[in-house]
Symmetry: C2
Subunit: 699 residues, 2 copies
């Protein structure tokens, strides 16, 4: 049961579909929360009981249970995801309070929303935002039920093409077609499967969107074809800012047709990002969305079928105004420093460092430009969290027109709930830190709660230097995330798997991904179609189990799996909690596995660097196929079937598969029901459509 | 068995006592390692087998087992201890390779030493340093034996006064005597024990060493007495740099008597730190050490009996030369920016940010000043790691003359092995991050290996905002570290325990510390006297136990204890591995505990926010006293005795206690042997000196 409460005149975010379905109630009747308004700020507060856990917030820092810290929904380009950070790239204002009472809250607000979840006071939850806001309260009989109701009202999650479940390789940047050819060759040489290679900002001509550097990527169309013939998809980056440069068509059209955000004087707003000074397309305007979205056709026409949208918080390196302060501070030090040992120079230098350090993504810049929201002028900071969302919506809506019958890969850095209908996200510029494997594990179910299903972190870590063991352990988690991409930054250690010794260990891990793809793809699509969660906290599946409720380093996956990644250096084993008896598969590569039933309770399991532990729930089916060099080569109707079926219950599995790119998901031909029946000591298997099954049933 | 190998003409660091005992062998006969020299660099390499673990490096980042990363011994003032950092404040070049072969290595080298421990290649350890170096190889029959041999040659570790085991409160800064009085009052009001309050940089007159701000700390001597009457010790900070200011005695004496480091032109070297421009005392010169050390008398004469030395890497905010580059870069941007949208401004601004970001602690500054090492001129970078060490040595040596019969508290930020004889260290400017509880746990045994016994981290975290639960969990670990200090930075949330709700929960935890003090103090002093480790990895106590060898979040403490701190937010329990049957004490405050025997193996134990789990090894004795408001109030001869003694073996414990400040450690009166004997079903207790014992024997 969902009830909508409205205060003032909220800006429409299009997060909720069929909004008219919901009657507007006044805050006076708001359940659970006390509220107060002070000037234009609304504050909701809720008393937390000792047992309350708070889930949600999508792409946010810290735990699965968000209690004990504060979070600020304000899309931020901040690559240093240390524990104290309150904002990351997304703004996902959906939480579930689970404990004494259990309910969901969605704060549909495009400007900053602050959540103090037992931080200032341990037993108090407060939410603060502007007073023009819509709040949805969702009652249900469990966390899973509440998520499902919420997902229904925000609309079906994006489903990528099947190849996007393959292993993908990125680096900022592969500088030329030749370099990319070599990346592919090196993977193929050592038999590591690969489906995609990314083109980061350097494929463009001086960072101009929808251009290609013809010197380094000559005859681009043929290069795309060449890659396709090896089952490799090329995925270019598109940045939000449009370079100011006379003669550059996108810039000139944008100026002419008023597609750019304006400053207070009505001029096109100027800010510096990678291309130098740029204008920002006004993605909050439907005409501009259409204009910009159709620009992707330039690359689609050359055979490109996947994109990642970046820098769309929007990130601002500095504005012309922003450096004025820094310059003045330095002039002051500069002119006075002829006096030796000046008393206050230390203090001044700290101020200058701060000024320069804070040049980027300044609040004052976000307050200095304006959108034309289909006729209504709105200052950017009031709708900040919608910017990346609508850039990706622009692309997604255009793709539906350009390629009505084909799914393209699309994901974004910045996002707001609603964007999940158009694309996925990656979790931004993380680091080669062990703690970031764990952070990424914890983020996954929260993202699923908010509709973001096609998700993954930069495997191996984007910033800093990776190590061989870190990459192996990260991959062993990454084989379960829908987006499985190895990505690293300029200036860091090269981290393609072939850069390290004993690549057969990497193959052991990545092969398991390919072996799992039919099952993971099936689970993904069904989760998207059914508004269910691909990744779940144990707390959601076992709400009565006090121990399971606190587990934050294991995840439920799809209908039948539990994963337990290793995320500590030099660990040769890890502690695992089993909320019930499960089938334990210890993968030592695809061909070599140890399988046994483990009992409910506390376990320590050995996990060598190239091994992957996987648990299958009782009376659930896991299907594995033979790994190949790409998703296109996989066999989707010949499986090893694993099932722990200790009693006489019949077990069924509904397998989804399709051609991998069309949009006719609900076609009954895409679903095949497998059924295991036990009768008089015999095991019988039925399949609606015949498949080859190699049975492994444990009793 | 220890063998010394010498290459070239090493600089004497005084890390090893009785150096003449060791014959100099040439590198040609070096065991275990291959070596090569390239110009002035010596590289040692050792092939790592799969099972090799590498312990040591004292105050270093990451794991107890250092394998899989690289470390650079170069004392660094870097407050952001994220996972990729290779240098912290100390330089402790002692490691043990434990696996196929087991041996210790000490690289006695005062300049940068680099350890690549299976990072570049997973199966290779390399150590690089200047080619003028002394290397000690230590063979022994176990890690503990090797540590003990190493500790013997570096000399007895510093022993602080007993009050330094009390709870201590710090903040940058309590700005006045009045503020400190209030801190004490607030602790006393809620019955939280407290033994010391710190005075950070603002107690001085404009950051000048050995001055007191008479406006904010009027009648200082009487203030010290007033605090002492409440059993509160005041601990002022002393920074390395001496402010350049005419009329300031320390500055003028230093200039006159040539006590400061020189630049290339022979002038006193100038660098900016807190006081603005300063000179650095040349602590590597014995005359200067004596001069500076005796300056502490100014405060000792006022009743002060504890100090912390800071900024002694030395930290440099900037040198006069250092800002030249930044200024030029900014002038360039400034003059050219009249051209709108200049192509390369983005790149230039990144350069400028880098230049300003790197102004501090620049290599070029460390290469631009000189020491007079008792007659020999040496460039600073070649002896960099000795600077903080010798500042603290200056104080320690002076204290022996100023107070020959009384131990003072002394610890330092920067250090090198050898300094452990003069004082302790704290682990520097950490953050209010959960991961920093764990980092601190992991550092403790490594520090003990290198002789640093009086150690602890800033409880609650120095930088960033703490939370109530973080502070509680950190305290629950901190009650076991010899230095137990709550410390936070300017501008962060106030984190004295009385700033939070339900302070009885804080009392529950801190009371346990006071209850443990007689035992912890006894264990500490014995470890220092016997060259043994107060904190040990489980790997050292249970080398044959494959699982224990990998445990990095539990520590052995003293003869008989194992600790298992909680370091994850919202966790209500944790996994614990028991390498043998142990007595488990679940403290819910001092008065309320649950005690039972737990079996060897895997356990999950419940740990509420105000609880402390503690394990006592079989046939070992734990003594607890009744907590009081200060160490001075504690009863040191009336104990609750806990022992798990399932068989008929006799159990003995040698209890150390003294007056708490004198140096006559070995006086037999300081030792009392308690003995539990079982005969014919009866339990008998003997004590060399009578003590009151409340027996809790578990069979």
């Amino acid at each position: 049961m969902i009830k909508k409460y409205v205060s003032g005149t909220p800006i429409n975010t299009d997060a909720i579909i069929n909004q008219k379905k919901y009657e507007n109630h006044s805050l006076a009747s708001l359940s659970y929360f006390n509220f107060s308004t002070n000037k234009d700020t609304l504050t909701l507060s809720y008393p937390l009981s000792k047992e309350d856990a708070i889930y949600g917030l999508g792409e946010a820092n810290r735990g699965i249970n968000k209690r004990g810290y504060r979070y600020s929904s304000f899309c931020s380009d901040d690559p240093n995801h240390t524990e104290e950070k309150e904002s990351l790239y997304g703004a996902h204002n959906f939480i579930i309070v689970d404990g004494l009472k259990t309910f969901g809250v969605f704060v549909d607000c495009p400007s900053k929303v602050e959540f103090d979840i037992g931080y200032t006071e341990y037993d108090k939850l407060t939410i603060s935002c502007v007073s023009d806001v819509a709040i949805y309260i969702i009652n249900g009989n469990s966390c899973l039920d509440i998520v499902s109701q919420f997902r229904e009202i925000i609309g079906q999650s994006y489903i990528p093409p099947r190849w996007a479940f393959g292993y993908q390789q990125c680096r900022w940047s592969y500088m030329s077609a030749e370099e990319i050819r070599n990346v592919v060759k090196k993977h193929r040489e050592i038999n590591i499967p690969l489906d995609a290679v990314y083109m980061d900002i350097d494929y463009m001509e001086r960072y101009k969107d929808f251009t290609i550097n013809n010197d380094t990527f000559p005859d681009f169309e043929n290069f795309v074809k060449e890659m396709q013939s090896s089952n490799i998809h090329l995925v270019p980056i598109i940045d939000a800012g449009v370079k100011i440069e006379e003669g550059y068509d996108i810039y000139e059209e944008g100026v002419k047709d008023n597609h750019f955000c304006k400053d207070a004087q009505g001029n096109d707003f100027v800010a510096a990002v990678w291309p130098g000074y740029t204008h920002f397309p006004d993605f909050l305007n439907s005409t501009t969305r259409k204009w910009f979205g159709h620009k992707y056709k330039f690359l689609i026409d050359k055979g490109i079928d996947g994109f990642w949208n970046d820098m769309n918080e929007p990130a601002i390196f500095h504005s012309a105004n922003g450096i004025e302060n820094a310059i003045n501070l330095l002039r002051d030090i500069d002119t006075k420093r002829i006096t030796p040992y000046e008393e206050d120079e230390v203090e001044k230098l700290f101020k200058l460092k701060d000024a320069l350090g804070n040049l980027s993504n300044q609040t004052s810049d976000y307050e200095s430009f304006y959108h034309n929201m289909d006729g209504k002028t709105i200052r950017h900071d009031k709708v900040h969290n919608l910017y990346g969302y609508n850039m990706t919506r622009a692309a997604g809506e255009a793709f539906d027109e350009i390629e009505p019958n084909k799914r393209l890969l699309l994901f974004s850095r910045s996002s707001y709930i609603g964007m999940h209908r158009y694309g996925g996200i990656w979790t931004g510029d993380n680091h080669s830190w062990w703690s970031h494997i764990l952070l990424s594990i914890k983020m996954m179910p929260s993202l699923n709660m908010c509709g973001f299903m096609y998700v993954g972190s930069d495997i191996g870590g984007f910033g800093c230097n990776t190590s061989r063991d870190l990459l192996l352990r990260w991959l062993a988690f990454g084989i379960f995330t829908p987006l499985m991409r190895n990505h690293s930054a300029l200036g860091t250690r090269q981290q393609e798997v072939y850069q390290f010794e004993n690549t057969e260990e990497f193959k052991n891990v990545i092969d398991i991904r390919y072996s799992l793809i039919p099952y993971l793809y099936s689970e993904y699509v069904k989760s998207a179609l059914n508004n269910s969660m691909y990744f779940r906290p144990l707390a959601f599946d076992y709400p009565e189990d006090e121990i399971a409720r606190d587990v934050e380093d294991q995840l439920m996956l799809g209908e039948g799996l539990m994963i337990t990644p290793v995320y500590t250096q030099n660990a040769k084993r890890r502690y695992v909690y089993l909320p019930e008896d499960m089938l334990y598969i210890r993968f030592k590569g695809y061909d070599k596995k140890e399988v046994k039933v483990l009992e409910k309770g506390h376990h320590s399991i050995d996990v060598a660097l190239d091994e992957v532990p996987l648990f299958v729930k009782k009376n659930h089916i896991l299907l594995l196929t033979k790994p190949e060099m790409s998703t296109a080569d996989l066999n989707y109707d010949k499986f090893d079937l694993y099932c722990y079926n200790p009693d006489t219950s019949s077990v069924t599995y509904k397998l989804f598969n399709d051609d991998g790119y069309s949009k006719d998901y609900m076609n009954p031909e895409n679903f095949n029901t497998l059924q295991i029946e036990k009768k008089d000591g015999n095991i019988e298997i039925k399949a609606a459509t015949p498949v080859h099954l190699n049975m492994n049933i444990y009793e």
